[in-house]
């Protein structure tokens, strides 16, 4: 016990020295006693979209706050949704990206996803500093997925599409790791990455209400909930384009039945070479709109939501 206290005392001293050296950021590798450090993670070699060779633990994880997901670029449904969701989170954390926070999207289909292919993919999503798209040996990547709890035994090897879409958020300095889903709210995810798991001294607090101010709360319709969790990472309800087009007045611009089919089975429309679908596909960097396996009632709820909320409030705007 005594020896332990001395050790901790020394560690505190070290910490203080470290603080003096590096300013106010807390810096040390995976903490003493944490099993989630270099002994746990395979230090496998990966290659990023620019062809740089990087070792998983030493170069990518050590002392960093990271978000790690697994993708493959020709994946129809889930990967674009994953990446689009992370894009939103990325924007919220932009000032820290590449400094203390890093995103890694690692391909589970290395044969197809060469650095060149990954670079094209990254460009589709307008990613920036601190977000690497990586590939490596299949077995290495499989081992990594197992270690990160993102591998589904039995199913995975055969079917890329059945891969786990969740991602891990980790802070190597504190040894904290947590699994999240691309269907979480981007603000919540950004809060988790940027605040809960890795506070930065120059963080600005969001505008939270004081307890004295209370508001009548909004009611979430089924359509709005779907829109928020499934559509919003790529589409706005205004004119602004995201990864996909802005949807202002979309229910008036498009035939309702067509729109319903497009929302429900975008993959089928593309397979049939539907002209509007093909045009959109080309216009928006060939990012495939995911098939979320929505039921008819859910598609209808989405349409109603877009009809009531996706209309311009100013008559002028509707002419645009």
């Amino acid at each position: 016990m005594k020896a332990y206290r001395v050790a901790n005392y020394l560690r505190t001293l070290l910490l203080i020295c470290a603080m003096l050296m590096f300013g106010t950021t807390l810096v040390w590798a995976a903490p003493e006693g944490s099993p989630w450090g270099k002994d746990y993670f395979p230090n496998i070699e990966l290659v990023d979209q620019d062809g740089r060779k990087l070792h998983f633990y030493d170069d990518l994880v050590k002392d960093k706050v990271v978000v790690i997901d697994f993708i493959f670029t020709h994946c129809g449904d889930t990967c674009p949704a994953q990446t689009a969701s992370l894009t939103k989170v990325y924007k919220l954390l932009a000032n820290r990206m590449g400094k203390d926070i890093f995103f890694y999207s690692i391909s589970i289909d290395p044969k197809h996803d060469t650095p060149k292919v990954l670079k094209d993919y990254a460009e589709k999503f307008n990613t920036g500093a601190g977000w690497l798209f990586l590939t490596g040996k299949t077995d290495d990547v499989t081992l990594l997925r197992q270690k990160l709890g993102l591998y589904r035994t039995g199913v995975d090897a055969a079917k890329l599409n059945e891969h786990k879409t969740s991602f891990m958020i980790g802070n190597d300095a504190t040894g904290q790791w947590i699994k999240r889903s691309p269907f979480d709210k981007p603000q919540v995810l950004a809060g988790l990455v940027g605040r809960s798991i890795s506070r930065s001294p120059d963080d600005k607090k969001e505008n939270l209400a004081d307890y004295s101010e209370s508001t009548v709360i909004p009611k979430l319709s089924k359509g709005e909930d779907l829109f928020r969790s499934r559509c919003e990472s790529c589409h706005s309800l205004g004119t602004e384009d995201g990864i996909g087009p802005g949807l202002l007045n979309v229910t008036e611009r498009r035939d309702r039945a067509w729109l319903a089919r497009w929302i429900k089975t975008p993959d089928k429309l593309l397979a049939k070479k539907d002209p509007i679908a093909m045009a959109l596909f080309k216009q928006y960097k060939k990012v495939i709109m995911p098939n979320f396996r929505l039921r008819d009632a859910e598609v209808e709820a989405l349409l109603i939501y877009m009809e009531t909320n996706g209309k311009a409030t100013q008559p002028d705007d509707s002419n645009k």
């Binding site: 099993p35 270690k147 709890g149 969740s166 889903s181 120059d202 009611k219 089924k222 396996r293 859910e298």
Partner: protein, 875 residues
């Protein structure tokens, strides 16, 4: 003592089941795995040799021998729970001006034990108030987190934060204590969630039995003088999973006071409790031995408590802070039933053989609870790490006081026949008596624990140095490979040859149990030679083939009774084993409590009995199958961690000792179906149910794109992750509702827990519930693949007295943490504004607006149209 050892040696040699004694088999299996891995080379080791079981989850076996010191089963004496011990509130706040400071020694959770004990033994440092931000006279609260300077030095990123309040409860009206002046606090206690340390004897003087009475007294079975200084108590106990295994570090185990034994709160109805819970965990979030979050919130499981004291997952506190939980201890129905306290059965022990009457419905009397951490995303890690305590409710019905003699049974009548101690009189003698006289003891007016024993069963795992470990990456569930009872690896418990009550809690993260109870007999006993469904020969073979020379044993399935399900005493005692559950108790999932009465009476001293787990897991996703008891006790099932589950098998040994008293406790056989009734079920009426709002909750996967992580789809809506902002259901206080809970397909099982109110099961798997649920009030509704469970539960719930923000979630806490949790708000009639979402931080709690699902108010109308009410059972 030496005879004891000999006896256990005999068991070691002759008991033919899992005599792995851990180490040998471990060694072989490791060797086998190593050879296989070498043979198959690196590529295959990347996808490891497929063992039939993945236990401990994605991790190496927990060694039973460390540095030459070995733990063997049934050599550790089981720890009895230690009472917190409450103080009268008037004495507890009388001298609030003088108190020692509450300090930590460093950033890493190494607490100065004596200083913490001193602090906790003193009175509360401030008078509890209705709102956390102003005191009850309206003056703003200004107390700062005493660790503020320390926080800023340990966590430089917090330097710029303006202030750090001491009280971590969200401020304002949303989290103000409800009905604060109506239920004034009468007793209080405080504890700090802290890293493992040596027990300093903080609570030695706070035990009701005072180590003087009955089995806790000097000549009793449970007397304790841990450090041998002649002064009784737990002072000196270290946190060890077995006496021969290493002491846990402050970073490995976090628990109440930071000490063992596990803690117990003893509470009386009508006596409102204030629990001030301090967070004394490491400031450095990484000083956690690989798992555990240093922010906490405390949920009193199934307490009829207002929401601000329910431990909402997003109302958590930081190190240095406290949270005041106010538990009113009132019966459901307080506002509408027995409001004039006219019912003599509705009450609590008065300390002198009488009953202090309370309001409400005595049919709602609860008995066995627990409280534990409920931190959003981290419940599994924190509870596994030790943030869990048990809580016994004492009432007129369930007083914890059996008769000392025949006069007590009658309530000690005077010469005119008028009972002088009506609270002691037994219901079995006179149906007008409230006291069920369950086995307990008789040295005190209430709360005797001589023959009323809390048991928390849980699986654990540890690393090569013996420190507790957890796999945070595998979110299908986490399984440990070592069975523990009350934190000890496979302990033994001395019992008297009489009736006992055991309050069994499954305190695991992902493991379900199915527990059998068997008496071990020498083969020479006549009973072993007669073929019977009650007798198990191990290994199984025809009786005639056994030679007298053979040093084998047989096991007798003794009869015992379940008296309470989820801590609520049922209408009837249910005998086990029974036709519907021939080998063992029903499946018991995480957080479920089964109270059983076992009669050791008539068994000679030296008799051994075992609690045996027959439920196999292969992964943490859910249980795999029920094993035949004979296979488990025999050689057929290999619980070696490679081909079989190492937590299957015997987990607790009972050693019978002589009993010289007379057992006047109730005989549960008098209360089986068709005979006397314990607490008749207050069933909802057809009218109530017809008017009920109905809701559907589908746990698990829905569409392909939603496979991960865990989701809940409410009222035929979208499958959603947890979001503390989103109100998925908003029942109205005073209403009865029907909730349809389903899911659990494809090998997953989900123990679904609804906070605040227990419910009655209308259907399980579309059929009438099994006999042990027919008369039960439940708060955990298992859904899953196996026979005791099934894919759906339909339940009726009455919501009364309080309002606010509660949750419903899967109690496989790895599923819960990975988003299988939803928020529901209980609202007052006509309420238009919802509770805002608390957003705690070091510098205080702010609020975010909340949102509703569109179905939150009226539920699932289509389901309501379709649902057929059960006819037979209802009035």
């Amino acid at each position: 003592m030496s005879t004891d050892n000999n006896a256990s040696d005999t068991v070691e040699t002759v008991t033919v089941n899992n005599k792995t004694s851990g180490f040998k088999v471990r060694a072989t299996s490791n060797l086998a795995m190593a050879i296989a891995a070498t043979l198959s080379g690196y590529l295959i080791s990347a996808t490891p040799v497929q063992a039939a079981v993945n236990i401990p989850t994605d991790s190496a076996p927990s060694p039973l021998c460390i540095a030459g010191s070995c733990a063997t089963e049934f050599t550790a004496k089981m720890l009895m729970f230690e009472e917190f011990g409450t103080k009268d509130i008037s004495s507890s706040t009388s001298s609030i001006s003088t108190h020692s400071s509450y300090t930590t020694t460093d950033c890493f959770g190494n607490v100065d034990g004596p200083a913490l004990d001193k602090f906790l033994s003193e009175d509360l440092t401030s008078i509890p108030s209705r709102k956390s931000d102003v005191d009850d006279s309206g003056k703003p609260t200004t107390e700062h987190n005493p660790w503020e300077a320390k926080v800023k030095s340990c966590l430089p990123a917090t330097v710029s934060l303006p202030s750090m309040p001491l009280d971590g409860r969200p401020g304002g009206e949303d989290f103000a204590h409800q009905r604060w002046s109506e239920f004034p606090t009468q007793v209080a206690f405080q504890s700090a969630q802290a890293g493992a340390r040596v027990n300093g004897g903080l609570r030695d003087k706070r035990q009701l039995h005072d180590y003087k009475k009955g089995e806790f007294g000097p000549n009793g079975l449970y007397y304790m003088d841990a450090n041998g200084d002649g002064i009784p108590g737990t002072e000196g106990i270290q946190i060890k999973i077995h006496p021969n295994l290493p002491t846990q570090k402050p970073q490995s185990v976090w628990t109440f006071d930071g000490t063992l034994p596990p803690k117990l709160l003893m509470a009386k109805y009508g006596e409102a409790i204030l629990f001030r819970h301090y967070n004394a965990l490491p400031l450095d979030p990484g000083s956690n031995g690989g798992f555990g979050k240093n922010t906490i919130t405390t949920h009193e499981h199934n307490g009829h408590n207002p929401a601000e004291s329910d431990g909402f997952a997003h109302a958590y506190i930081y190190p240095g802070q406290f949270y005041d939980y106010h538990w009113p201890m009132q019966l459901a129905g307080y506002d509408s039933i027995n409001t004039d306290k006219s019912d003599a059965r509705t009450g609590a022990p008065d300390g002198n053989g009488g009953i202090t009457r309370v309001r409400g419905d005595w049919h709602e009397t609860m008995s066995t609870h627990w409280f534990h951490d409920h931190m959003l995303d981290y419940t599994a890690q924190n509870v596994y790490k030790g943030n869990a305590a048990m809580m016994n409710y004492y009432s007129a019905i369930d007083r914890g006081r059996e008769p000392a003699d025949a006069q007590d049974v009658l309530g000690r009548p005077d010469l005119q026949g008028v009972p002088q101690k009506p609270g002691y009189g037994c219901h079995y003698n006179n149906p007008n008596n409230a006291n069920l006289c369950l086995p307990s003891g008789s040295n005190m007016d209430w709360g005797n624990r001589d023959y009323d024993v809390n048991l928390v069963v849980a699986d654990k795992a540890w690393d090569n140095t013996g420190q507790l470990k957890f796999n945070i990456f595998n979110t299908d569930g986490f399984l440990g490979d070592r069975a523990t009872v009350n934190w000890e690896y496979k302990p033994f418990l001395d019992v008297r040859a009489r009736r006992y009550r055991f309050r069994i809690l499954d305190g695991s993260v992902s493991r379900f149990f199915k527990l059998a109870l068997v008496r071990e007999r020498p083969l020479t006993d006549t009973i072993c030679k007669v073929a019977s469904s009650k007798i198990i020969l191990a290994p199984a073979r025809p009786v005639t083939t056994i030679t007298p020379a053979e040093p084998a044993k047989c096991y007798e399935k003794i009869t015992y009774h379940m008296i309470a399900n989820d801590g609520n005493i049922m209408q009837h005692a249910i005998p086990f084993p029974n036709a519907a559950s021939p080998d063992a108790l029903p499946e018991q999932s995480i957080a479920e409590r089964f109270d059983i009465v076992v009669d050791f009476g008539g068994m000679p001293a030296g008799t051994k009995l075992y609690m045996v787990n027959i439920l196999e897991h292969t992964t943490g996703a859910g249980p795999a199958r029920y094993l035949p008891l004979a296979d488990v006790l025999g050689t057929k099932y290999k619980n070696d961690g490679v081909s079989g589950d190492p937590v299957v098998g015997k987990i607790l040994e009972f050693r019978v000792q002589n009993y010289t008293g007379t057992d006047f406790s109730m005989n549960p056989a008098d209360y089986v179906e068709g005979k006397k009734q314990m607490i008749p079920l207050n069933r909802p009426t057809q009218t109530e149910l017809k008017a009920a709002t109905q809701r559907t909750f589908v746990f698990g996967k829905k569409a392909v794109a939603d496979t991960q992580p865990w989701t809940i789809a409410t009222d035929d809506g979208v499958a959603l992750n947890a979001d503390p902002h989103r109100i998925s259901a908003a029942p109205t206080t005073g209403a009865t509702e029907i909730w349809h809970i389903s899911g659990g397909t494809g090998g997953w099982s989900h123990p679904v827990h609804v906070h605040f109110e227990e419910g009655q099961i209308l259907y399980r798997g579309g059929k009438a519930p099994p006999i042990w649920e027919k008369y039960a009030r439940k708060d955990v509704y298992r859904i899953g693949a196996l026979a005791d469970t099934g894919g759906s539960v339909d339940v009726a719930i009455r919501f009364r007295e309080f309002a606010g923000t509660y949750v419903e979630h899967c109690h496989n806490t790895q599923h819960e943490d990975k988003a299988m949790l939803l928020r529901w708000d209980l609202q007052n009639p006509g309420q238009t504004q919802a509770i805002n979402t608390p957003m705690p931080d070091w510098d205080g709690v702010k609020y975010d607006p909340s949102t509703y699902l569109s179905t939150a108010k009226f539920g699932d109308l289509a389901a309501k149209k379709k649902f057929v009410l059960p006819a037979g059972l209802l009035p």
